[in-house]
């Protein structure tokens, strides 16, 4: 007896991860469509206090598994914990973010539960009581929609694809503790080390403005004017895989299917042709401005504004214009 849409919440730095809020938004809308409650699973150690955050962002019911062995993510530990939550909640669908955690947890959990997963989805709807998930495939060249023959449907949601619901601290919800009894020694995949790659300035994922360059920039030096524009607008610089492969920019700035997925308000695509593998990384951008010498470049097809010219001429002028506007 399925009775809800369950979100596997993710905790990052002692707070609910922003992607979880987006997934909660999706779950809330799906639950409303299907006339079922939105549930959340809060798995971790010392995380119980965050349950009210989840409720404020749309959860009706929160299942908390709070055990020391779950202090850090592990596939074995979290799958086992989610198995227990699933038994307690018996949801129609389990939603999670396509994050470091979600992409690892989702598929294995689905197989554990005798079901199936659809990963990296852009949207999820409940048509006629059926959960339908839509996801890009073939490097972003195609889209597929799926329904599920088994339950629960495990679905991960791409970051920046869904809007959170507005925070409402007055919302009420039920918090249920689930005892999973996870024994640390039973966790086979053990975390033994962690290395952060420090990033300067604004994180690409958080940036409101991104100035991205591709092969058309031509050199590492060419990016300096992109940096200037990013500074003028308080944004960050991104790059395509081609630019990173050429060593013009660090891999941490790579945007695309295998790089970062970003969703800024304004995205400058400079010297970028618009190959789907790159565009998959910025489909969440609200406004794309393409600057390319080639009027035929397919990037213009997904851009709101376009300039057909050499970036070397236009960008310096644009930096000036933006500075004036901001002043």
């Amino acid at each position: 007896m399925a009775n809800g849409i369950l979100v596997a919440a993710e905790v990052s730095g002692g707070a609910v991860a922003s992607i979880t809020l987006e997934v909660l938004g999706a779950a809330r809308r799906l639950a409303d469509q299907m006339g079922k409650p939105a549930q959340a699973a809060l798995v971790g150690s010392g995380v119980e206090g965050l349950a009210k955050e989840l409720i404020a962002h749309g959860a009706d019911q929160v299942f908390v598994v709070d055990e020391p062995a779950l202090a850090k993510y592990s596939c074995d530990g979290f799958v086992a914990a989610m198995e227990k939550v699933n038994a307690a909640a018996s949801p129609d669908a389990i939603l999670m973010g396509q994050s470091d955690m979600g992409r690892d947890l989702g598929p294995r959990l689905a197989f554990r539960l005798g079901s199936v997963s659809a990963m990296d989805c852009l949207n999820v709807t409940g048509e006629g009581g059926k959960v339908i998930a839509e996801r890009p495939c073939y490097g972003g060249n195609a889209r597929a929609t799926y329904s599920f023959n088994t339950s629960p449907a495990v679905i991960s949601i791409r970051s920046k694809a869904q809007e959170p619901v507005a925070r409402d601290d007055s919302r009420q919800g039920q918090v249920t503790k689930v005892d999973a009894g996870i024994d640390a020694s039973a966790i086979r995949d053990k975390l033994v080390g962690h290395q952060e790659v420090a990033e300067e300035g604004i994180r690409l994922e958080d940036a409101d403005v991104i100035v991205a360059g591709g092969r058309g920039i031509g050199s590492a030096e060419g990016f300096s004017v992109l940096e200037e524009l990013a500074r003028a607008l308080g944004g960050a610089v991104g790059a395509t895989r081609a630019a990173c492969d050429n060593g013009w920019r660090p891999v941490s700035e790579q945007i695309g299917l295998t790089g970062k997925i970003v969703g800024p308000t304004l995205y400058f695509a400079v010297g970028i042709s618009g190959a789907s593998q790159h565009m998959a990384g910025c489909t969440g951008a609200k406004n794309i401005v393409a600057i390319n010498k080639d009027p035929e470049a397919i990037v213009f097809k997904s851009s709101r504004f376009g300039i057909v010219d050499d970036y070397k001429k236009v960008l310096p002028a644009l930096v000036e214009a933006c500075r004036k506007l901001k002043a």
């Binding site: 195609a142 790659v197 609200k286």
Partner: protein, 268 residues
């Protein structure tokens, strides 16, 4: 006994084919193979083979078996892996396998069990056609072994596998006891270039072919009959954005105009 590593590889339509050659038959819910575009080994799967070879190089001795599931033509990707340096190749081919990731994972796990005596299973992080990133976990779950995903390096230390797992920012180091399954990401590096001697040797090697019956699978309980994930629709997304080309006599004029338009639209 030397290590035995199993690498799973898939043949996919060339992801680098011109976008103009990409077509979807919506009625058949299939991607139409473009003329002149030859299928290739999925990039991450070539890296799974590479990771296996690096472990073999480091250990001095190891046996690498590659398995592919697909049509007869997928023999090419098995041969490619053999040319890279893998020792044995198996191709699972049977119309009964036409299904979803459940059947794929089931058939692969049965084949791995049949091969037996393995220490490590390596897969690509996702196949570059459907980009699902699911099958590896299914194999691990069905075999009951631990899984670690998105490896940028895989080493075997004693009876453990040590994996550097790629994160959005940085990486984790994860250990798991053997046998285990690891999925490999592009950060691993480049797959090696086959030496001619090995290409020639690979050409002479036999690829073992197994069907559903060989794996003890009931054809009616796999494939189309056991689909868990229903493909409802497959289509090419059309961009609904109308692009406004900003023009002007001078770069300054163009830039000023664009800045004004962005301001009007409350974008900046």
């Amino acid at each position: 006994m030397p290590l035995h590593i199993i690498a799973c590889v898939k043949q996919v339509p060339d992801p680098e084919a011109p976008a103009s050659a990409f077509r979807v038959d919506e009625a058949a819910k299939k991607v139409v193979a473009a003329a002149g575009v030859t299928p290739v080994i999925s990039q991450f799967d070539a890296l799974a083979v590479e990771a296996a070879l690096r472990i073999k190089d480091a250990a001095g001795d190891a046996k690498i078996t590659v398995i592919s599931l697909g049509p007869e033509t997928a023999r090419d990707v098995v041969k490619h892996s053999l040319a890279m340096g893998a020792d044995e190749g198996v191709l699972l081919t049977d119309s009964a396998f036409d299904g979803d990731s459940y059947t794929t994972a089931l058939a692969l796990s049965k084949a791995i069990e049949k091969i037996g005596d393995y220490n490590l299973v390596l897969c690509g992080r996702q196949a570059t056609d459907w980009d699902a990133g699911v099958v590896g976990y299914g194999i691990a779950e069905m075999l009951g072994i631990p899984s670690v995903s998105l490896a940028k390096s895989v080493t075997v230390q004693g009876d453990k596998v040590v994996v550097e797992r790629v994160l959005m920012e940085g990486y984790d180091t994860i250990e798991a006891p053997l046998p285990a399954l690891v999925t490999v990401s592009n950060e691993l590096g480049e797959p090696r270039y086959p030496k001619l001697q090995q290409i020639m040797m690979a050409a002479r090697k036999q690829v073992t072919i197994w069907g559903a019956g060989d794996l003890g699978l009931d054809a009616s309980k796999v494939g189309a009959g056991a689909v868990r994930l229903n493909l409802e629709r497959l289509f090419q997304p059309v961009s609904e954005v109308e692009c406004e080309i900003v023009e002007g006599e001078t770069p300054d004029e163009i830039a000023t105009k664009l800045a004004q338009r962005l301001r009007e639209q409350k974008i900046i």
